[in-house]
């Protein structure tokens, strides 16, 4: 029993109620929830807007492939890195993408443990975003090495030379942190998909789709035993993923904090990086959610309540990040080290890359303050723009940390400038292309909202509970 266009319009209007949006618009039934969500991947039509967007993103992904081929052929010298700035866009992008991933894990793991029901509408695509972001991130540490074909040296494997990785190096910790994170994220996401894949299998008319979803659904029959095991697995995986939310970016921050370069050597980095990661991750979820819910008419399921909640998270983490920035300045002064002091004041604020620092403050601290106003939190256009600004700001934060700190450290004789090249930018755009291509395929091929979880939000589900 599908919803009539009038009903859909009404539910969208309720979902867009700026004063009092519910977690889910009323009027949905078990059937219509399933229909609305599973109908998107099971539909035969390819919509024009999706196709155009996909092709643009796919073009971007091909730019990534081209960049990688050229990079492997010529070497990392095609980028703007040099001495003293040994790390450039690659590491900035790595940290940026890893950070973005964090929102998905936070939503699905921590909010699950905290029994926040509003997460159910957004966790599926947030998790997908996590996986794609981590994939993008994972490319960079591999490709930024001078000899990527030797990068397996970073893994502990029994080698005839008797050599192990050098475990004191944060880059080795990175390998473990990021690969663990990627694995747990994929498993968590896939486990969460299993009941919905079962639904898909049952509803699919196309034989191939039926076969594929049938394979992937692992024989899901929805028995009570299945549900029991599913719930246990979810809880356990949530418990596993929760520390990862904190640990991954903590370890990423060690890449810098363990170094002795002024601007890197900061004890504040781990919590400040984690807050920044969640900040940027939520910004990205918002960036994705706003067009998706509009385009697929899902405002009744992803309501302004969700958007406003996410905006509040943005505000909170934004304030954490702002605290981090102010403490960096304080430490610079309080350290009584002329190098730290020079870094914070002469270099970061007033040096040749000063523009990036002030842009960062503008993007991540000043602009976020508008979220104190409900009007902004519930205005999707404003929120979308702001989320983009925060994405830019968080990228700039990594730019400031990596480039500004490296370009002028201890010996003024060695100071130098870093300018990105075409290939730096191409690779960055390429990963965005890869990320968006994956997202486009995801929303088309997989239920982008957890059907079975949303069903539990329906009044019907609760009635049964009471009846029992």
């Amino acid at each position: 029993m599908s919803l009539s266009p009038e009903q859909v319009a009404e539910q969208r209007a309720i979902g867009n109620d700026r004063e009092n949006a519910p977690v889910m618009a009323p009027g949905y039934t078990m059937e219509s929830v399933t229909e609305t969500i599973a109908g998107i991947p099971l539909s035969k039509n390819i919509r024009m807007g999706w196709a155009v967007g996909f092709l643009i993103a796919f073009g971007g992904m091909n730019l990534l492939l081209l960049s990688i081929v050229w990079l492997l052929y010529r070497g990392v010298g095609i980028w703007g890195i040099n001495s003293p700035v040994g790390w450039g866009f690659a590491i900035i992008n790595f940290v940026w993408w890893v950070g973005i991933g964090h929102a998905g894990t936070l939503i699905s793991a921590i909010l699950l443990l905290l029994r926040q029901q509003w997460r159910m509408s957004i966790n599926r695509f947030a998790e997908a975003m996590t996986i794609f972001a981590v994939s993008c991130a994972g490319l960079f540490p591999l490709l930024h090495t001078g000899r990527p074909w030797m990068a397996y040296y970073l893994f502990p494997y029994p080698s005839t030379s008797g050599m192990w990785p050098q475990f004191r190096s944060p880059l080795v910790w990175d390998v473990f942190a990021v690969s663990t994170y990627a694995t747990v994220s994929i498993v968590f996401w896939y486990v969460g998909l299993v009941p919905d894949l079962g639904t898909m299998r049952d509803r699919a008319k196309n034989k191939l789709v039926k076969f594929l979803t049938g394979m992937l659904a692992l024989g899901w029959r929805g028995s009570a035993r299945h549900w029991h095991r599913y719930e246990m697995a979810s809880l356990l995986l949530a418990g596993l993923a929760t520390p990862l939310v904190v640990s991954v970016h903590t370890v990423v921050s060690y890449d810098f904090a363990v170094g002795l370069i002024p601007g890197w050597h900061v004890t504040l980095f781990p919590p400040y990086f984690v807050a920044g990661a969640i900040f940027s991750g939520f910004a990205m979820v918002i960036t994705l959610a706003i067009p998706i819910r509009w385009y697929f008419g899902l405002e009744g399921l992803v309501t302004l309540r969700h958007m406003e909640n996410m905006a509040k998270v943005l505000l909170a983490t934004g304030m954490c990040v702002a605290y981090g920035y102010s403490m960096e300045v304080f430490f610079g002064w309080y350290s009584a080290s002329r190098y730290e002091e020079y870094l914070v004041f002469n270099n970061r604020m007033l040096g040749p890359y000063g523009w990036s620092y002030w842009m960062l403050i503008l993007c991540n601290v000043i602009s976020v303050q508008v979220l104190w106003f409900r009007w902004v939190r519930t205005n999707m256009f404003a929120l979308f723009i702001l989320s983009i600004i925060i994405n830019v700001g968080m990228w700039l934060e990594r730019f400031v940390i990596v480039i500004t700190s490296l370009h002028a450290d201890y010996l003024p004789s060695s100071w130098g400038m870093y300018y990105p090249t075409f290939w730096d930018i191409a690779m960055f755009i390429g990963t965005i292309g890869f990320f968006l291509t994956s997202m486009f395929l995801f929303v088309r091929a997989v239920p982008m909202i957890s059907i079975f979880e949303l069903r539990t939000l329906l009044p019907q589900a609760r009635v049964k509970e009471v009846e029992k």
């Binding site: 040099n82 001495s83 040994g86 790390w87 001078g146 004191r168 004789s413 060695s414 100071w415």
Partner: protein, 1034 residues
């Protein structure tokens, strides 16, 4: 000429009908036989012409056939046999060292050449020879790369087509025979400066045979001024040889005596002997430098003034007058010279009669030389600190006049045969001579040179010249001592030396260079060679200098110049800028333009690479509205060149310096179109300085590839210094300025390695480093460091393992320049090692921070975390793995690194290993001095000490224990093994400023309140803010 005669005689002698296609065939000349041979080869053809389809097929077939049979050269057609008995001394893997000399402007610089299995790989100074004492500046060490330059001329050619040397010999013989009738009237031989006795002898023989022939020497940057100055002062040419060690006070008039001229290595060593505080008992000398542009030597001067050339000359006159020399013209102290400064100088000079010395620059006008001679005479220095010797040149001439005479003769059609033996006059002759045009009227022009260059283009014949390391020869060093130059390798391309070509011209072609040199010295007489010639010869070859060949001191040299002559103004005040011509400190007069090491050598002070520039003082540039990199047009009497401007602190105001040797059209792949050729504005009349030059902006920009872009210390105590008085009051001033103290050894680990075997360390004496960059090239040569090119330098990717940092302090218009060589510090708590994820950089048990190239994946984390930024990364494939000859220049003891791998100074670990093997063979420990690292060996001022810190008697242990010893960035607790000895200056008491930081150890205060130099930071920052990121490195 000979051809028709021979042909006619053949037709006469052969009976019957005979068909012939050309006179050559008919005459059956050797030329024609050669030609036939080449046209219809009976053996394998010569693989010398560019690849054709046919040759490609041949090559492919041959390489398939010979797959597996690899060798450096083609296998000989003759039967070969392996060693039955191994040749004496040749042990695969062990280097041999030969004493010989390399030349610069004809003057010998004695060197030791390292040879691996018959290929020379490294040039170092000859430690036994007083003119080098083991040191070798960059230009000398780099000549080994020239040897293997793939762009060298490989064949004899005539008008671009390949010929044989025999063809040339015959052509030459015919021409000379024809001109014998009129005594060789139309024959001219043009050489570079010749000090070689054997070559001079051949030239003499030739002129005896052809009395009307003339020999002309031309060297664009020779010792013209010194010669002219001596002529002006003494009325005869003499060479002033300094006894710098005896001088307490040195006045340098625009003289870069530690890097220029025949004596520079000796002078640098002598200067250093007076400044080696690590040796304890030294009485430091004091140097005053008055110069127009900042020189390497000037950076060590206690008192330095930057005066434009006209004022400098007036200053010299004033100084001479104050010392009691009768000087005509304007001889009052110029207003630009502070009175106290002038008085201190005069007081010092007068107080050190017979113990002072006045030196004029090799490239300064002759008047300055004459004034210097007069001052030395007035101070009683002649015979004490200055010796006058017979000139090194076999025949000292006024080369400018000689070249003018030659071109006049050529233009007048008086020259039929022009033999250019070395040199590149088409490129570097003064423009008004119109050398190229004059060449038009010469019937036969031959050029002997290593490269097919600008001059070769206009000559009929081109003969590849054998490299100095390929040919026998001889030449004179500083005091005239002859070095017999022995070849290290057979000529790679069958080249010939000037000596051999002269012998050919004299009709003795059969003799080899070896015979020619030997035969000459056999006739030198018992006074030279003694009773046993063979013994003398063997000693000369072995030692690198020939006994009894030192030129005699000239007795009774007296200044005959009158006041008017000394008062002659060579640089008239003429409004506009005064333009100074200088040779480049790496490509010299252009001859090393195709040498990648030289093009990429950061020029002392400016750190400019791959370009020349118009060097202005920041103030002058500001006045003209010119910024770094703005292309300016310099107008010299109607001739203009366009050069990018470079702001040079310490340059004299209202003047501009340009460097010769750039803008070559036919230097080769490396040197073509690098920089701008300024010879077109360098006229005969004013080869050193020209006044009244107009500079106008062109609106164009040209980025200058400088390896350093920030020249202020930002109040950091990186280079520490004190005056002698401060040092005596507080010998430990350097350590005292450390924030936490050098000895704090805080660690969270209990484990501490004892280093109870060897404990390698290095000390760099900042009192001695003049920033000449000899060490940089020595390191590059020793460690197979690639050349990356201008574009990569602009991106900040130069690969030098060792760099010389330059900082400025004090008055922005006349700052003090501080040099600081920075190799790897080999930190005991190395921050690079901790962050490497694959343990590719680790510590060894002797304290070396080692790089394992095979293990490196290239994360560059180590480089980021290095506070000294000494690590270098192969961002691209920088090493040339394809050019065969370049494979030969590499040191086989050092790995050639691949793209994607980090590298850095290893403390020449291969030399340590070499010494270790030798010590083990002899059953002993490595002794102090067994390991001499490449930079240390090359250093002309002995600023670098290396050795085992555990050996308490070693030089390094003494240096490390010296109160002046300090570690840069010690507060980071990385515990560097490379430490510095703070600089101690010896200023005149009345001019002394405080250099050392305040004596309380925490003088800086907790928040970086002014350390010494902070006031200067603010002072300089306005004027030199343009410099803070001048080069705009990418």
């Amino acid at each position: 000429m000979g051809l028709p005669v021979a042909a006619r005689s053949r037709t006469a002698s052969v009976g019957g009908r005979r068909y012939w296609r050309s006179l050559e065939e008919l005459a059956e000349t050797p030329d024609f036989q050669d030609y036939l041979e080449r046209e219809f080869p009976s053996q394998l053809p010569q693989f010398i012409d560019p690849v054709s389809r046919r040759k490609f097929m041949v090559l492919m077939a041959a390489s398939l056939g010979l797959a597996g049979l690899t060798a450096c050269t083609r296998p000989s057609a003759n039967k070969i046999l392996p060693y039955v008995q191994q040749p004496e001394n040749i042990i695969p893997g062990e280097a041999l060292y030969y004493a010989t000399a390399v030349l610069l402007s004809g003057v010998a610089f004695p060197v030791l050449v390292e040879s691996h299995m018959g290929r020379p790989t490294k040039i170092e100074g000859n430690p036994e020879h007083p003119a080098s004492q083991g040191a070798a500046t960059a230009m000398l060490a780099a000549q080994v790369l020239d040897l293997y330059d793939p762009d060298r001329a490989t064949t004899v050619s005539r008008l671009g087509s390949i010929r044989t040397y025999d063809e040339f010999a015959e052509n030459l013989a015919n021409v000379l025979t024809a001109s014998a009738a009129n005594g060789g009237e139309g024959v001219r031989i043009l050489t570079e400066t010749v000090t070689s006795p054997a070559l001079a002898d051949q030239l003499k023989v030739f002129r005896a045979k052809y009395p009307a022939a003339k020999w002309v020497q031309w060297e664009p940057a020779g010792r013209h001024a010194a010669r002219a100055g001596a002529m002006a002062a003494f009325g005869r040419p003499v060479d002033a040889v300094l006894q710098l060690e005896k001088a307490d006070v040195i006045l340098s008039l625009d003289a870069d005596f530690m890097v220029e001229g025949p004596g520079h290595l000796n002078y640098a060593k002598a200067y250093a002997k007076r400044r080696k505080l690590r040796d304890g008992d030294v009485t430091p000398n004091r140097m005053y430098a008055v110069e127009s542009h900042p020189t390497t030597t000037g950076t060590l001067a206690e008192h330095r003034l930057a005066l434009k050339p006209s004022v400098l000359e007036q200053f010299a006159r004033a100084a001479a007058a104050a010392l009691g020399v009768a000087v005509g013209g304007e001889a009052s102290r110029p207003a630009q010279v502070p009175e106290a400064w002038f008085n201190a100088l005069v007081e010092d000079l007068k107080g050190a009669r017979g113990r002072s010395v006045v030196v004029a620059g090799e490239q300064s006008p002759a008047t300055l030389h004459a004034l210097a001679h007069a001052m030395n005479a007035a101070l009683g220095n002649a015979g004490a600190t200055v010796e006058y010797r017979e000139p090194l040149e076999a025949e000292p001439t006024d080369q400018f006049a000689a070249l003018r005479q030659l071109t006049d003769d050529m233009s007048a059609g008086k020259v039929q045969v022009l033999m250019i033996l070395g040199g590149n006059p088409v490129y570097n002759a003064p423009p008004e001579l119109e050398f190229v045009k004059a060449m038009d009227r010469v019937a036969l022009k031959t050029h002997l040179s290593g490269w097919n260059d600008e001059t070769s283009e206009y000559c009929h014949w081109h003969i590849p010249e054998a490299h100095t390391l390929e040919a026998w020869g001889d030449a004179r060093a500083l005091d005239g001592t002859v070095t017999v130059m022995q070849p290290l390798i057979a000529p790679l391309y069958g080249g010939h030396s000037a000596l051999e070509v002269m012998a050919l011209m004299n009709g003795i072609p059969a003799k080899t260079g070896y015979d020619l040199v030997r035969d000459y010295w056999k006739t030198a007489g018992a006074g030279v060679v003694g009773a046993d010639f063979e013994a003398w010869w063997r000693r000369a070859l072995h030692n690198g200098f020939a006994e009894n060949t030192t030129l005699p001191a000239v007795a009774g040299v007296a200044v005959t110049a009158d006041a008017a002559a000394l008062g002659r103004v060579s640089v008239p005040e003429a409004g506009g800028l005064e333009l100074i011509f200088r040779t480049d400190s790496a490509v010299y007069d252009g001859r090393f333009a195709n040498n990648g090491w030289m093009q990429e050598l950061p020029r002392p002070g400016s750190t400019l690479t791959w370009d020349n520039a118009a060097e202005f003082s920041p103030k002058t540039a500001e006045g003209m509205g010119v910024k770094e990199g703005d292309v300016v047009s310099l107008d010299v009497g109607g001739r203009t060149v366009e050069l990018p401007a470079m702001l040079t602190p310490g340059h004299a105001p209202d003047s501009v310096t340009v460097r010769l040797g750039f803008g070559r059209r036919r230097a080769g792949q490396v040197g073509n179109d690098v920089g701008v050729d300024v010879y077109p504005i360098r006229s005969l009349a004013s080869p050193y300085v020209v006044a009244g030059v107009k500079a106008t902006g062109t609106g164009k920009k040209h980025e200058l590839a400088r390896t350093q872009s920030h020249f202020l210390m930002e109040g950091r105590d990186l280079v520490r210094e004190a005056t002698l008085a401060e040092y005596k009051a507080n010998p430990k001033f350097a350590a005292a300025s450390e924030v936490h103290g050098a000895t704090a050894d805080i660690s969270i680990h209990d484990f501490k390695f004892a280093y109870d075997g060897y404990k390698w360390g290095m000390s760099l004496d900042l009192s001695l480093c003049n920033g000449c960059n000899a060490c940089v090239t020595a390191c590059q040569s020793e460690n197979n460091i690639p050349v990356v090119g201008r574009d990569q330098v602009l991106r900040g990717r130069e690969m030098h393992w060792l760099r010389v940092d330059r900082y400025y302090e004090g008055d922005p218009d006349n700052p003090r320049a501080l040099n600081q060589p920075v190799p790897c510090m080999h930190c005991e708590n190395a921050p690079c090692e901790m962050v490497c994820p694959v343990a590719a950089t680790t510590h060894d048990d002797e304290g070396l921070n080692a790089m394992v190239y095979n293990r490196c994946v290239g994360t560059r984390y180590c480089a980021n975390n290095c506070p000294y930024k000494v690590r270098r990364f192969n961002f691209l494939q920088y090493q040339d793995w394809n050019t065969e000859t370049l494979k030969m220049v590499r040191n086989p003891d050092v790995t050639v690194r691949q793209r994607g791998v980090m590298e850095k100074c290893t403390y020449c670990v291969q030399r340590i290993s070499g010494a270790r093997i030798q010590a083990k063979n002899e059953g002993r420990m490595i002794r102090d001095g067994d390991v001499v690292v490449a930079c240390q060996a090359s250093c002309p001022t002995d600023a670098i000490v290396f050795g085992d810190l555990n050996d308490s008697k070693s030089q390094i242990a003494r240096a490390a224990a010296h109160p002046l010893n300090y570690a840069m960035l010690a507060e980071l607790n990385v515990r560097p093994r490379t430490t510095y000895m703070a600089a101690v200056r010896n200023p005149h008491p009345s001019l002394a400023e405080n250099l050392a930081p305040a004596s309380n150890s925490h003088g800086e205060g907790p928040h970086g309140a002014p350390a010494h130099g902070d006031e200067m930071t603010s002072g300089v920052s306005s004027a030199t803010s343009a410099q803070s990121h001048v080069a705009g490195r990418g």
